[in-house]
Amino acid sequence: MDLYEYQGKQYFARFGIPVSPGGVADTVDQALAVADEVGFPVVVKAQVKVGGRGKAGGIQLADDAEAVRRHAGAILGMDVKGHVVERLWIERSSDITHEYYASFTLDRTAKKHLCMVSARGGVDIEEVADSDPGAIARLHVDPLDGLSAAAAAQLVAEAGLHQVAREQAAVVVQKLYACYEEGDCDLAEINPLIYTPDGRVHALDAKVTLDDNARFRHPEWDQFAGTETTDPRERLAKEKGLQYVGLDGFVGIIANGAGLAMSTCDVVEQVGGSPANFLDIGGGANAAQMANALEVINTDDKVRSIFINIFGGITRGEEVANGIVEALGRVDISSPIVIRLDGTNAEEGRRILAEHGSDKLEPVPTMIEAAKRATELARGSRP
């Protein structure tokens, strides 16, 4: 789960990482109230989960109430790369002497945590990594050892941070590690981490991705939920525990497992079709999950046929079949369904489907043939 900047800063603050005083605002009036409280000058920042908001005009300095009114009015409702701004973060403006970068993420290749620190913050760090890789100091952290104060100090020195900022920056890096590790983040990034004229180091931005798998031990994450996706179908799927990604095509896809779902999209494309979505019903899916999946796909007007591709392992064929039968009874599925069912208890599943005998349902023995048939049906029914 990606956090908004303001949520990331709230999360940082829990771990003692210094951030600017500020507050959220969903209206111009709220923005004015927050600005009054934190004191002028303030920065009005669009809250969207996409980069490039600064370039789009979504970050503005305001010296007085009139400027807050003007900027908040302009930024609320603004479109940043398809994301509509519904919320602002208003914070006390900071004077900046130096801008740095610090982050933690998992290095899958090294199978250890990777800390990156640079004296060249405030810009696109990926560009720095490409043009001047030496400007980023890197350290692998073994999760069993953690990050010592000495290692953090050495890293900020290696990164070439200014002498005056090093001591505080090393402390922030250690706190960022605590946030990343204890806070179960996939990514914890500060860009920029600033040094102010009055000698303070603090986080001016926050980019945090939480590991959804760790949700069970973080009840405090509930406050972050429900603000992630704007696509109604993706939201519906998520509520039902399905992994759904909308695509542009016309063949609805339901498969078990991310790999097979992707592979199913690939094959549909290769036989001349075009997938309308990626939908993974997950491992061990039961009848209810299959029925939910069909309901989600059924709300998509682009869909002309549905291809259900199941290879049972932990998912059992009879459960899949029962789910399809249940869904057909519960909702009026508007598209023809092509199903390919193999693996655990597939014969039992095929028997259940045959007994049901719906003319909406066409069993096809192989993945490629099923993809071809689904594409054919979709093309035939296109208006």
Binding site: A258, G259, S263, I314, D342, T366
Partner: protein, 296 residues
């Protein structure tokens, strides 16, 4: 021969109860011919479930039965501890199918095994398990889709495409030595490279089918290994050719950012390493037919 597990492997199912996934799949594994010799459950030590003696912990199970492999399907909050318990008891091969383990738990468990239990190999988590055709099946693979006798080895990151690939091989009459599902999580205990090295060393495995997917750099690392260290032919398929960039496709393993980890980049790296790259699982099976035909 086979890799990692065979007919002599003795399996303890961790977290066995009358209603557990472990029992359902453990019984299917036993029906396949796998020696399922024990189960563990801290509350059920001394009981017998479906003929499987239950012990309070893995150490007790090992002492009583000589188990040398374990099967873990416990829920995510308990999985990392179960893996470590198995390692502490001296289990050499741990299969963990649990999906949804926090990445930090995985990273800690992986590094702990590396440091303190170098003789324990973890397969998974979030994987279908392993099947040495006709000998031993640990995990959730439907045994009837595997064909014993070799000469093919199979290694896959994706679970369901693992089944699909086994099935494609079997349908085409190509037997398997061992199929290894390494799982799609960020920190898999066994990598492509580990499995490829084992297949390279196994005299009965003559060719390998490798199934990758988008995201990460594991396939690229495998390509380096194949180029530098493998003499046996390899066929590969990468799932997610049509996946849009920047979107998470279902689980932690399958995300691409920018040009990194795309199917195209992986397919090119594998081709450059001399691997025959297929466009879909069916074509992968067909390429394996050609490879097997040309084996001396």
């Amino acid at each position: 021969m086979s890799i990692f597990v065979d007919e002599s492997t003795k399996v303890v199912v961790q977290g066995l109860s009358p209603t557990s996934q472990g029992l359902y799949h453990g019984l299917r594994n036993r029906a396949y011919g796998t020696q399922v010799v024990a189960g563990t459950n801290p509350k059920r030590g001394g009981e017998t479930i479906e003929g499987i003696p239950v012990f309070s912990g893995v150490a007790e199970a090992v002492a009583a039965t000589g188990a040398d492999a374990s099967f873990i399907s416990v829920p995510p909050p308990f999985a990392a501890a179960a893996i470590i318990e198995a390692a502490e008891a001296g289990i050499g091969f741990v299969v963990c199918i649990t999906e949804g383990i926090p990445a930090h738990d995985e990273a800690r468990a992986y590094n702990l095994l590396r440091r303190d239990f170098p003789h324990t190999r973890l397969l998974g988590p979030n994987c279908p398990g392993i099947i040495s055709a006709g000998k031993c099946n640990i995990g959730i693979t439907s045994g009837d889709i595997a064909l014993p006798g070799g000469p093919a080895g199979l290694v896959s990151r994706s679970g369901t495409v693992f089944y699909q690939a086994l099935y494609e091989l079997t349908q085409k009459g190509i037997g398997q030595t061992t199929g290894v599902g390494i799982g799609g999580d960020p920190v898999p205990g066994t990598s492509f490279t580990d499995a490829l090295a084992a297949f390279e060393a196994d005299p009965e495995t003559k060719a390998v089918l490798m199934i990758g997917e988008i995201g990460g750099a594991a396939e690229e690392q495998a390509a380096d290994f194949i180029r530098d260290r493998m003499s046996k032919p390899v066929v590969a398929y990468i799932a997610g050719v049509t996946a849009p960039p920047g979107r998470k496709m279902g689980h932690a393993g399958a995300i691409i950012s920018g040009s990194q980890g795309t199917a195209k980049a992986k397919m090119e790296a594998l081709s450059a390493a001399g691997v025959s790259v297929a466009q879909n699982p069916t074509e992968a099976g067909e390429l394996m037919v050609d490879v097997v035909k040309n084996l001396v």
